[in-house]
């Protein structure tokens, strides 16, 4: 009897992973870069399920107990009961606003030591990207290039201040922001939702009151650097804006 439960749980988990991969909803939970790991777990769960069915009469190797089975059922229940969708903006209050991606190579002390020795070859791809961006008349931030471009912007701010820029995001306010300030933010994900952080551009405008929390806007303006207590943060000088519907996949992913 308990062997049927084990088989059902294994196949249930496998079904859940397969469903998420096929519908591409997996990217709401983990960085698509790690999809191959989930494919591995799917295959291995199926193998284990088949082995369990083959040995359905064999006595248990360890006792697991009701609570054990109930707990393993929990993820399946969470999957069935709740629609899979990205975190909504309300979670941002529980997160830490970092303004810029955490993986900024400049800031990593370990890298810095190594890099000092290996002359500046690591900078090449960033420099290349920077000169590419310089040629554009307007820098448009999309979900795909968001973190990469903000990285480059913050590495060579002197090249880009005053440059036209378009970005989409939700309105986010943090304690300590002035009344005429808000952040046009996105949630960045390096591995899974648990490590998501808020990134975005600080916008300083007298119209600030018109932007309601958690609403999505597409904003056009020029890039600028603003100073606040945490240091220099990227900002946009507002030129024009329009309300847009919330993106289906609201994350920006770390590409490494």
């Amino acid at each position: 009897m308990s062997s049927i439960i084990r088989a059902a749980l294994l196949f249930g988990l496998a079904f859940m992973v397969a469903y998420l991969i096929i519908t591409r909803e997996l990217s709401y939970f983990i960085n698509p870069r790690f999809q191959y790991l989930s494919i591995f777990s799917l295959i291995f769960l199926l193998i284990l399920g088949c082995v369990q069915i083959n040995h359905y009469k064999r006595p248990s190797a360890h006792r697991i107990g009701t609570w054990g089975y109930l707990i393993v059922l929990l993820p399946i229940c969470a999957f069935l009961l709740f629609p899979s969708k990205p975190l909504d903006a309300s979670i941002a209050d529980q997160k830490v606003y970092t303004y810029v991606p955490t993986e900024k190579p400049k800031n990593q002390s370990t890298d810095q030591q190594q890099l000092a020795q290996e002359d500046d070859s690591w900078e090449e791809p960033y420099k290349q990207k920077a000169s590419e961006l310089e040629k554009l008349s307007v820098i448009t931030l999309s979900s795909k290039n968001y973190l990469e471009v903000t990285n480059v912007l913050m590495m060579y701010p002197e090249k880009f201040v005053g440059k036209k820029i378009t970005s989409t995001g939700f309105v986010y306010r943090e304690e300590g922001l002035k009344d005429n300030q808000f952040v046009l933010a996105r949630l960045s994900m390096s591995c899974c939702v648990a490590d998501a952080g808020v990134v975005g551009f600080l916008i300083d405008t007298p119209l600030s009151n018109q932007f309601k929390k958690d609403q999505w806007y597409e904003i056009e303006g020029t890039f600028e650097i603003t100073k606040n207590e945490t240091g220099e943060v990227p900002g946009i000088k507002l030129k024009s804006y329009k309300r847009v519907p919330a993106l289906k996949d609201s994350y920006v992913y770390q590409q490494f």
Partner: protein, 352 residues
């Protein structure tokens, strides 16, 4: 009523599972399935509950492959590697064997979930106590699965991975020598722990394996593989059980407490270190995937509290202590707990 539940829990559970599946498949919008759970919003806002479920599933999905890899490897080794051989290769001199034991994890990669029964069996097979405990402490950190997952979780950063490894190995060595000083000639196992019947942790009762080992003296590798896979089902269930609880508690923490609270605490490094160690102890996250949870604290925490979490968690946590209580004497566990806690605090403060 309770007896009814106790006798028929398997059937009740199955009916429940079956009904959930029926409801799921019969709903018209199978592909765009949404259940009305708005009644839950009476006591907690729906948005938060939704976020809780999302974070929980996310941690689970990210950790799942690593747990499966750990289970697979440990079951294969359980079947194909003889602990006796391992023991014969160990030098008798403690100054050699203790540092060597930290590297066992590289050949025998097992999380802290599977390590306690193995360490106990090694002691039963007359492996010196200090060597076995060094192995018990080091293996969850110094093993390929943990190394890879830490490396990935922290965005391909070798610095953090190597610091974690050296701190873990260092503490394990110091604890090994402490055990050499204090427990060289003392009994550490509980009196009756060599028989399965009196073992409190019947989760890890090994009657089946013993019978298995004696029955087939020279089993074919196919049988062995088959048994290894069968065994990994149970190891998987027993390991995910703790992992799911940990992921759930972590997601509750993330949705309801959040980092804003942690941020104010992070300014007092002492408190942050203690809190992170408490979290590591309470969450009991498997060392093969705890790096992903630690990575989520990276934004809010300094390095010292972060490493306190990364180093203390694999060595000492709630489920580990429960498992050890079934195998070792109380004095050993107190010594073990006190030693690792103090050493973690000291090393984190001195080196970071």
């Amino acid at each position: 009523m309770l007896r009814l539940l106790k006798n028929f829990y398997v059937e009740i559970l199955l009916v429940f599972l079956f009904m959930t599946l029926v409801v799921f498949f019969s709903s018209d919008s199978f592909l765009r399935f949404e259940w009305d759970v708005s009644w839950l919003s009476s006591f907690v806002s729906y948005g938060k509950l939704q976020n809780l479920a999302t974070i929980f599933l996310s941690i689970f999905l990210e950790g799942l492959p690593f747990i499966l890899i750990g289970v697979l490897v440990s079951s294969l080794i359980h079947e194909f590697v003889n602990e006796n051989t391992l023991w014969k290769l160990t030098p008798k001199n403690p100054f050699l064997s203790i540092p060597m034991a930290t590297l066992f994890g590289l050949i025998l990669p097992i999380c802290e979930c599977g390590i306690v029964p193995i360490a106990r069996r090694l002691i039963e097979k007359k492996l010196p106590v200090y060597t076995a405990f060094t192995f018990l402490l080091a293996a969850p950190i110094v093993n390929p699965v943990t190394i890879i997952s830490t490396y990935i979780a922290f965005g391909d950063d070798w610095g953090i991975t190597l610091t974690r490894l050296s701190l873990g190995a260092g503490i394990a060595v110091v604890m090994g020598f402490l055990f050499f000083l204090f427990f060289r000639n003392r009994e550490v196992l509980r009196n009756n722990s060599h028989t399965c019947e009196s073992d409190e942790m019947d989760d890890h009762c090994c009657s089946d394996h013993r019978e298995h080992h004696t029955k087939h003296d020279t089993p074919k590798w196919k049988d062995k593989l088959n048994h290894a896979l069968y065994h990994s089902i149970f190891e998987f269930m027993n390991m995910t059980k703790y992992f799911i609880l940990g992921a759930f508690l972590a997601s509750v923490f993330q949705t309801f407490v959040g980092f804003a609270a942690m941020k104010s605490m992070a300014s007092h490094e002492w408190i942050a270190i203690i809190v992170m160690m408490g979290l590591a102890f309470g969450l009991s996250i498997c060392s093969s995937s705890d790096a992903f949870i630690a990575a989520s604290f990276r934004n809010a925490m300094g390095t010292a509290p972060l490493f306190a979490f990364l180093v203390y968690g694999p060595m000492m946590d709630l489920k580990n202590v429960l498992m050890m209580a079934g195998s070792f004497r109380a004095s050993v566990i107190w010594f073990f707990w006190g030693g690792t806690t103090l050493l973690t605090i000291v090393s984190v403060i001195c080196f970071l």
